[in-house]
Subunit: 371 residues, 2 copies
Amino acid sequence: MATATPAAETEVKEEEQVVNPWEVSAGKGGIDYDKLVDQFGCQRIDAALVDRIARLTARPPHRFLRRGLFFAHRDLSEVLDLYERGEKFYLYTGRGPSSEALHLGHLIPFMFTKYLQDAFKVPLVIQLTDDEKFLWKNLTVEECKRLARENAKDIIACGFDVERTFIFSDFEFVGGKFYENMVKISKCVTCNKAVGIFGFSPEDPIGKYSFPPVQAAPSFPSSFPHLFGGNNQLRCLIPCAIDQGENTKMSASDPNSAIYVTDTPKEIKNKVNRYAFSGGQDSIELHRKLGANLDVDVPIKYLNFFLEDDDELERIKTEYKEGRMLTGEVKQRLVEVLSGMVARHQRARAQVTEEMVDAFMAARPLPNMFG
Amino acid sequence: MATATPAAETEVKEEEQVVNPWEVSAGKGGIDYDKLVDQFGCQRIDAALVDRIARLTARPPHRFLRRGLFFAHRDLSEVLDLYERGEKFYLYTGRGPSSEALHLGHLIPFMFTKYLQDAFKVPLVIQLTDDEKFLWKNLTVEECKRLARENAKDIIACGFDVERTFIFSDFEFVGGKFYENMVKISKCVTCNKAVGIFGFSPEDPIGKYSFPPVQAAPSFPSSFPHLFGGNNQLRCLIPCAIDQGENTKMSASDPNSAIYVTDTPKEIKNKVNRYAFSGGQDSIELHRKLGANLDVDVPIKYLNFFLEDDDELERIKTEYKEGRMLTGEVKQRLVEVLSGMVARHQRARAQVTEEMVDAFMAARPLPNMFG
C-alpha cells in the first residue's frame, strides 16, 4: 500500500505532540508536521511530484496538492512508476460513523479521493468502521449501522462513481451476524481479563487476544441467521471435554502412545501391549494372590470409555481386581474393542466424499433440524 | 448457553494445576476434578440428572453419562426444563484442526455429541477453528484450511445427521478472504506493539486490540475477491487526513464552531462571523496601517482549503495582509464559498436514494472500474 499523507495508524509522541487514530494533541504552536513526516517515515510531496501527477493524469492538480495541503506520502512515487507503465492501483479510504452529520473537515479526504478517482480512473473501496465506533463509543450496533448508512449518503453526495466505488460497512461486509457477535463479545472482555483467563503474554500477537470471541460467538443462535433466523432466544448446549489432551495416551511420558483413528490393528495391539500401564502384579503368582490395582490401570480406563456393555465391564473389573483375570487377557479384550471401533471409523471415513463435506459445510437452512 | 462439562474457556490455577484451552497440567495425583467443578462454577451431573435425561429422551443414557465420564454441567437442568415444555435447543462443539489424524481422545466429545443429537433430535453446529491453529501453530492459512476439511471427514464419519448438522471453518464462514487477511495481520502485531502504537490500556476491551487489523485489511486487494479476484499484486493508495479533527473548528475551544454539511447559510454566516479567529487588527485604522497576520487567520485558512481560484486567493491574501481588505470582507467571501459548497452538498445528498446506497454497498464485481 501507499499513502498520500502519513498513515494515521502510527503514533508520534514527542513532548506533548500525540497523533494516533483516536487522539490528536498538538504541542505548543500546533502540530509539527515536519516532525510527523520524519517520524512516520514519510516523504514530502514536493513540486516535482505534483507536476508528475498533473502530467500523468493530464489535468491540473487538485488545489489540495497545489497548496501543499496533502503534503506527505509513502511509496507514492512507486505507485506512479507502475501507473506510468500501465499498471493501475486502487484507492482505499474510510470513515468511522459516529455522528449524524459530517463537518467540512470530514469531507476533505473524500473530496481529495474523488479527485484521485476521477484523475487516475481507478476503483475505490470506502470502509465504514461501524464496528470501531461500537467499540469506542456508547452506541448500539444498530445505531452504528444506521449512522454508517447515513454517512454513506454524504459520501455518495461527494460525487463518487458507482461503477468504480464499493462502500462497505464492517458489520455488514466483514462477517455478518457472526462477526457482529464477535465484536459484541469483544467489547465485554478487558485485556486484563483475557490475560488472567487465558495466560496471554504481552509478546503474544493481538490475534490471540481477538480469538476468544470467535469461539464464544457460536454460543449465540443469532450468529447463524441461516439456521435460526429470528429465534434468538434458543438455548445452546455445549458438550466439551476438559482435558482430552491429557488422558488419551497409553503412556503419559510417550506422545506416540496415543491411539490414532488411522492406526492399523497391529499398531493398536503393539501400543496397548507395549505402553498401556498395568495395575497388575509383577508375577502371575503375585497377581493371582493380590489382584490388580484398577485405579492406575490404563486398559481398564480405556475399557471404561469404549466398552459399551456394562455387565461385561463389571465382570472384567471384578475378575481382574481379584486376580482371576491377567493383564494380558484384559489388554487382549481392549485391543479387540479398540480395533473394532477404529476399523468401523476407518470404513465410515472412507465413505465420506468431498461432496458430503461440501454438503455439511454449506451455509444453508436446515428445515428439519428439530423434526 | 449451557455446558455438559466445565467450559474449557476458563482457567483454574491452584498449586500446579492449570487448565485452560491451550494448557492442561495436573498437580500431583492428576487433575483434581472436584476442584475444577468448584472453580468453574459447575454442578455435578448426578444420578438423578442422568435418569432425567434418559426419561426425556426415552432411551438409555450414553455410557459416558452412566459411568460419570461427562461429570459436570452448567445450566443443563434449565435447558432440560425448557425441553420438557417443548422448547428445543441446539448443540455446539468444535475442534482446532492442527493435525492430520485424530486420536481417540479427540473422538470422545464427538461421540457424546452424536448421542445428544440423536437422543434430543436437535441441530448441531461444529466450529473448526482453523484461524486459531494458524495463530497458535507454525502453519499456513492454506494448511489450516486443508486440515479443517480433513478433520471434517473424521467428524462426519462419527455418524452425524446432515439434516441437523452445520460444520464450518472459521476462515470460510466468519468472513471469507477479508477475515483471512485480518487474522494474518493480527498474527504479525504483538500486544506490546499495539499498546505502543495505539495507546491501549489493560482495561480496554480486547475488541480495541482486535480492531487495527480490520482497518489494515482493505490495504490488501485479496480482501476483495469480488473486485480484484486473483490480482493480488495490485497496489493500494490511501488518501488520508492526519488531523481532520483538529483544524476544522472555527474556534479551537468551541466544539460547536465547526461547519456541518447540514448547516443553513444563516448558521454558516453566524459561525464564521462569531467564531473564526481573525488575524486582522483591533481597529480599522490600525488594520489599514499594519495589515493582517495571515498565519493565525482562520478565514484565510478556510479559503486556502475551499476557494478553488488560485488567483483570487492570492489577491485576497495580498490585499488582506497589506490592510486594504478588512476581516469583514474576507469573512463575507468565506461565507459565500462555504454556503455555496454546503448548499451543493445538500442538494446532492437529497438526491441520494436508499436504492443508490444499496447499489454502492452491494458486494458486486465492478467490471469497468479501470476503464
